[in-house]
């Protein structure tokens, strides 16, 4: 039975798994910033599609980057 209300959505993939050359590192704030919301919150895995392994690493690196002011803790939209 196909639910007519359900739209087919694109399958989300972990960007770090797809592209192993994408640096996941606190020294690359421009990469990490893509995983921050407008208010500089970490985008959940549910939204970003990251795998658990890389999401853990990502969160760690974002927090490291925040400590040295490469990324904001908070920001106004």
């Amino acid at each position: 039975m196909v639910n007519p209300y359900r739209r087919r959505r694109r399958r989300k993939v972990c960007r770090f798994c797809v592209d192993p050359s994408l640096p996941l590192d606190y020294k690359h704030p421009e990469v990490l910033r893509q995983f921050l919301s407008e208010r500089a919150k970490i985008v959940p895995r549910r939204i970003s599609g990251n795998c658990a392994y890389h999401q853990r690493r990502l969160a760690r690196e974002i927090k490291r980057a925040r400590n040295v002011a490469l990324l904001p803790f908070t920001e106004l939209p």
């Binding site: 690359h28 490291r64 925040r66």
Partner: protein, 160 residues
């Protein structure tokens, strides 16, 4: 059996208003703190003056220097201790890149790398590799537990 060596990386944020010589002198001093504890400098990367993501101690910019070094734990703790005493250091963060390395297998590279482009910390790729050995990276143990409460390796930064 001597001490166990680890590989570290320390990102130091200096006061941007210091002159070039004063900054150079401070960097040299920071290196001394490491070498005095028998550590070895592996890489010096000057990112130059960058904008801070937020205002820190009344500054909106800082002079970023990345030091990669190897040494026993006391080299890292001593560096952290000394940097905390300097009021020209806005902030710093030391991260353990690799545990239990062989001091004899280190590459001989004490000279200073060319000043990196200030806007882009890209050329620091070399050491991003070993940062991934399945949970191995952990930071130095002297947690001051500031704000970060990251899981499993809370990066501790020490406010000076």
């Amino acid at each position: 059996m001597a001490e166990i060596w680890h590989r570290y990386e320390s990102l130091i944020l200096f006061d941007p208003d210091l002159g070039t010589e004063a900054t150079d002198e401070l960097i040299a001093r920071a290196k001394e703190y490491i070498t005095n504890e028998s550590g070895r400098i592996l890489k010096t990367d000057r990112w130059g003056i960058r904008d801070l993501a937020f205002v820190m101690k009344g500054r909106t910019k800082a002079y970023y220097v990345l030091l990669e070094f190897a040494g026993p734990t006391r080299a890292a703790t001593e560096l952290d201790r000394r940097l905390n005493l300097l009021d020209t250091v806005l902030k710093f963060q030391t991260i353990k890149l690799e545990k239990r390395i062989d001091p004899d297998a280190l590459p001989e590279e004490p000279q200073e790398g060319a000043p990196a482009p200030a806007s882009e910390p890209g050329p620091t790729e070399a050491e991003s590799g070993p940062e991934d050995p399945a949970g191995a990276p952990s930071e130095t143990g002297s947690a001051e537990g500031a704000e970060a409460a990251a899981p499993e390796g809370a990066s501790e930064e020490h406010v000076s």
